[in-house]
């Protein structure tokens, strides 16, 4: 029938129509079946998939930042807790008249131009339902003022949240660190939407950073049904947040604060350890930033002041500061001599100078000490005694004892950046510099100069191990299973001799007389130290060595002190390191500082009373002094200030690194030249 020549009649056409109409009907039925099948596929086979998509369309999860766990001291007193924080956010989607709303907010909250430009940038980047922060840490008055005007401010959302609070302020800055909003990098790494939730902050330094996972807690969530435009329709349910764990420290908050105040105007650090357990009772580095202010965001002026300060307030000197220990290692070196079979009664004749080859090594006492044995050499801090012994034995015989006493060791403490210095010996020098060890190296090391570098924590461990003869390891978390420190297995006779030497330093007419305790019945033992950071040339020595007072701050000697009390039954060990102190102000020198700090543990009232008297001489307590300094700094600012770096954490470590390296390189130069300056130890 498909041939074109075929004649078609009306009847054939009717027949053809019926057939084709049937084909059409079948085709239509087939399409109908196909559509019904397709629908069945979507609604039955793919139902789960589309149900999920429909739910994720419908439900918007808003995270509620978790309350951070508290950090408390050994008695449960808060070191870091949370306070109610009033904040104001903007929901971009609901914002109607941006210029009007921002103008109103600027008036109500006294926003600066800086704030406004940040909010504008954030608003441009944000979209939809996700809040943009306007201001946090508002006073109740400002918060209420916004609340009253809400009907006039579409899109503005006042919220009550929690903010981190450090009751002790700067005194705990380097212990706790601070918190801040997550950086873009951190968000990239964790990919947790919590990190970009307004109001959420994470640890940026110190324990806050190292213990982040324990302190953080679990966020709460609010499930809200929203329209396609992000407009909330109703709350479905709310899961409360789970507060982070409370972390209990070995720190005694009272002592911590006391030590911080007692460090006065010094750029220094103090550590107090329990001689029996290694519990860290105080760990202070001053000056410091105010962690409360840092946690609210760091202003550019504040940053400029802190990063340029030669007292390095951004650095935790306890673990990041490396210093030549100076004479503080002499008791430990005495122990090394005893362990090497040197009799404590063997004498060396100190005539003020020792000639080794072409080098002349001076004692701090120009005329010399005359014939001197171990106990007096410790008490009087005679350099020639230790020079002679080191020259004869070589420092390789001292180094094992130095390590045994905890120098050069890295302690497992929850602080992310630690420098742990060097206990040098011939193998170490060969490896590091490819040069053989010299007698001069031994002589320098014998008085804690040269290659020997330690941090204040190690000095405190050394003092505690010498005092108690136990292999204590410093610890700061009280919830760790407590390991009673094992004995180091030292000869009790040796310990007795060293203790006698250290007792005499303070109580027997030695160099540390100013460390004598003002508390009846409690005697302290210790050892002073002076670490030189500059080279004294032969010509300078001939014309008279410059006094510290005549030198710029950065060239003055470090003042150090290690000690323990009570001397007959040691409980507490202390180390105090004061950068570039120069022994200029007696009350602010290391020995009385260490002594006062320990006295707090024996007679709190008396110690505090004494401190209050002393503070009058150096301009008041920490807060008062920080305020004075800040005002002076503001007054001195004329040039426009560059903005706070975007990544404060890494900028801080740059500042710290710079400070640490200058201190580290300065001292070996001075010592390598085999010359030793005057000191009062």
């Amino acid at each position: 029938m498909n041939r074109p020549t075929k004649i078609v009649t009306a009847a054939a056409q009717g027949f053809s129509f019926s057939r084709r109409a049937m084909v059409l009907g079948i085709g239509q039925a087939a399409v109908g079946t196909l559509l019904a099948t397709r629908m069945g596929w979507l609604a039955v086979a793919e139902n789960e998939h589309y149900k999920l998509l429909s739910e994720s369309n419908r439900v918007n999860m808003t995270l509620i930042p978790p309350r951070r766990g508290w950090i408390v001291d050994r008695y449960g007193a808060p070191i870091a807790n949370n306070r109610t924080d009033f904040r104001v956010d903007i929901i971009p989607e609901r914002l109607e008249n941006k210029a009007h709303v921002l103008g109103e907010l600027q008036q109500l909250l006294a926003l600066t131009a800086d704030d406004l430009s940040r909010i504008n940038t954030d608003l441009d980047r944000a979209a939809g339902f996700k809040p943009v922060q306007v201001e946090e840490n508002l006073s109740w008055d400002k918060y209420a003022a916004v609340g009253v005007r809400l009907p006039d401010l579409p899109g503005v959302q006042p919220t009550r949240g929690f903010a981190r609070n450090y009751p002790l302020g700067a005194a705990v800055a380097h212990l706790t660190g601070y918190v801040g909003t997550a950086s873009a990098e951190q968000y990239k790494k964790e990919r947790d939407p919590l990190l970009v939730t307004p109001g959420f902050k994470l640890g940026k330094d110190g324990l806050e950073k190292a213990l982040e996972q324990r302190l953080r807690g679990k966020p709460g969530a609010k499930r809200v049904e929203v329209t396609a435009r992000g407009k909330p329709v109703r709350n479905l349910d709310t899961r409360p947040d789970q507060q982070g764990q409370t972390v209990r420290l070995t720190i005694d908050a009272g002592l911590q604060e006391y030590a911080a105040r007692r460090l006065a105007q010094n750029s220094g650090s103090a550590v107090v350890l329990d001689v029996l357990t290694g519990d860290m009772l105080a760990m202070v580095s001053m000056p410091a930033y105010d962690p409360n202010s840092f946690s609210q965001g760091i202003g550019k002026l504040e940053w400029k002041m802190l990063s340029e300060d030669d007292h390095v307030p951004l650095m935790n000197k306890v673990l990041q500061g490396l210093y030549p220990p100076g004479s503080t290692v002499k008791p430990m070196h005495g122990l090394a001599l005893l362990q090497n079979g040197i009799s404590p009664d063997q004498t060396v004749n100190c005539r003020g100078v020792l000639q080794v080859g072409t080098g002349r090594f001076h004692c701090w006492k120009r005329g010399g000490h005359g014939p001197i044995s171990m106990r007096r050499a410790i008490a009087q801090s005679c350099d020639i005694y230790f020079y002679t012994m080191a020259r004869d034995l070589g420092y390789d015989r001292f180094a094992p004892t130095a390590r045994e006493m905890g120098l050069g060791a890295r302690y497992d403490l929850p602080f992310l950046t630690q420098y742990y210095g060097t206990v040098p010996d011939s193998a170490w020098k060969e490896k590091k510099y490819g040069k053989p060890w010299t007698v001069a190296d031994s002589i320098n090391a014998s008085i804690g100069q040269g290659y020997l570098l330690v941090n204040p924590m190690q000095l405190a461990v050394m003092a505690a191990r010498l005092a108690g003869g136990r292999a204590i390891v410093p610890r700061i978390l009280l919830d760790q299973p407590h390991r009673p420190a094992a004995s180091l297995g030292l000869d009790p006779e040796h310990i007795k001799i060293i203790r006698e030497g250290m007792w005499a330093v303070v109580n027997g007419g030695g160099t540390g007389g100013r460390a004598r305790m003002h508390i009846p019945g409690v005697e302290m033992a210790g050892k002073t130290g002076t670490a030189q950071v500059r080279r004294i040339t032969r010509s300078e020595r001939a014309s008279g060595v410059l006094g510290n007072a005549a030198l710029p701050f950065k060239l003055r000697d470090h003042a150090l002190f290690v000690g323990f009390a009570p001397v007959d039954n040691p409980r507490y060990a202390v180390s105090v390191v004061l950068e570039h102190n120069g022994h200029l102000i007696p009350d602010q020198d290391a020995p009385p500082t260490a002594s006062d700090i320990l006295s707090y543990l024996f007679d709190r009232e008396k110690a505090v009373a004494r401190l209050i008297e002393l503070e009058k001489t150096w301009g008041g307590d920490i807060q008062t002094r920080m305020k004075t300094k800040w005002d002076a700094f503001l007054a001195a600012q004329k040039a426009p200030v560059p903005p706070t770096p975007e990544d404060v954490e890494s900028a801080t470590s740059n500042v710290v690194e710079k400070a640490a390296t200058t201190d580290r390189t300065a001292s070996p130069t001075a010592a390598q030249n085999g010359v030793r300056g005057e000191g009062n130890d």
Partner: protein, 370 residues
């Protein structure tokens, strides 16, 4: 049938079964529109109800018109609509931008919409006039191509791809029923497959091309142009077998589903009534269309046969293209679901088709008394 004594003859002669079917579909549509408005008669359900029953009455009146009338007006109607299409095109050119309707004051007349049944009538009339012996000759094809080509081209210029396609399909179906050799359709289909990609690239507007490409892969752009199809599939798929329940659809009520009361009304319905509702609705349309095709089979004259089957197929194209679109089987071309989607034009067209079908049906019943 009802006894002649109680009810006047003209009423009794109405095809009540089909009217009931149409009312059922229309009423279900109103229920869906009521839900799409968030459980409210305004703004859609009430207006749609009034329009629907007005056009239904019109269709019932049309059923009383002698079927020969449709043959008489086929060409004049076609001619008037061509003029109106040109007028629309000119007005659009003057005012700038695309325009599809003429504002007559009381109604916005969309000539392209009326062209869908008019093309069927014109084609049916043409093949009715063509002597049977000519049907396999070239003279049976080129006039038809012109009859289809002019309105399709004008509508394409508007631009309205969906309507242009429907006009073309409507005309081609009448050609098929009229007995044009099959090989032409097979050859045409093959060349269409070749031309289609070229047409997509060169003839379509950017937004139309985008729609076609998105249709191929809607997930490629779920928040942009693929949003309609994605959200529609989510609505249908999440409805499951029994649906989320009347007034409980989230996709439509929370505005995720765009055009949930017009082109995508089927998705709104399926979300709340599930597969059951969907299959019942498809079945209802199938019955309606089968009736229409059967009217053609039963019709006495060649014109009536071709016109009836063609009009039924016009309704079929509405339903099939719309459903394929909302289920992600066809690109988004803007064809509403007749009797359900909100809007007057499509309803008017479909009820016009039904009215004419009832008129042809009545004629065939009168002659074949049983």
């Amino acid at each position: 049938m009802t006894s002649p004594g109680l009810i006047p003859a003209p009423l009794a002669q109405l095809p009540w079964r089909i009217i009931f079917l149409v009312v059922a579909i229309g009423t279900f549509g109103l229920v869906v529109l009521y839900s799409a408005a968030g459980g409210s008669l305004t703004p859609w359900a009430a207006r749609q109800g009034v329009v629907f029953f007005a056009f239904l009455c019109m269709a019932m009146l049309m059923s009383r018109i002698p079927s020969s009338f449709w043959g008489k007006i086929a060409f004049p109607l076609y001619g008037v609509l061509i003029l109106l299409l040109i007028l629309v095109e000119l007005l659009g050119a003057v005012r700038g931008g695309a325009q599809r309707w003429l504002d007559l004051g009381f109604i916005r007349l969309q000539p392209s919409e009326l062209m869908k049944p008019a093309i069927v009538l014109a084609m049916a009339k043409f093949y009715d006039m063509l002597p049977p012996s000519e049907i396999r000759k070239f003279g049976a094809i080129w006039p038809a191509a012109i009859i289809i080509g002019i309105p399709a081209g004008l509508v394409m210029l508007q631009p309205d791809l969906g309507t242009a396609l429907m006009i073309t399909f409507g005309g081609i179906v009448v050609m098929f029923l009229a007995g044009i050799p099959l090989r032409l359709f097979i050859g045409g289909a093959l060349s269409f497959a070749v031309v289609l990609p070229l047409a997509v690239n060169f003839l379509l507007h950017d937004y139309q091309r985008k729609r076609v490409l998105i249709f191929m892969n809607p997930e490629s752009d779920p928040l942009g142009a693929g949003y309609h199809i994605s959200q529609s599939k989510i609505a249908i798929g999440s409805g499951g077998i029994f649906g989320k329940g009347f007034l409980h659809g989230t996709q439509s009520h929370l505005d995720y589903l765009p055009e949930g009361h017009t082109d995508f009304v089927f998705a709104t319905m399926a979300e709340e009534w599930g597969l059951i509702g969907g299959v019942l609705l498809i079945l209802a349309f199938f019955l309606l269309i089968r009736w229409g095709v059967n009217v053609g089979v039963r019709a006495r004259t060649r014109f009536e046969k071709l016109a009836a089957a063609g009009l039924a197929t016009t309704i079929f194209f509405y339903v099939a293209i719309n459903l394929a679109m909302v289920m992600g089987l066809a690109p988004v071309v803007g064809i509403p679901l007749p009797l359900v989607s909100y809007g007057g034009s499509a309803q008017m067209t479909v009820l016009l088709c039904i009215g004419m079908l009832m008129s042809i049906d009545r004629a065939s019943r009168k002659t074949v008394r049983w």
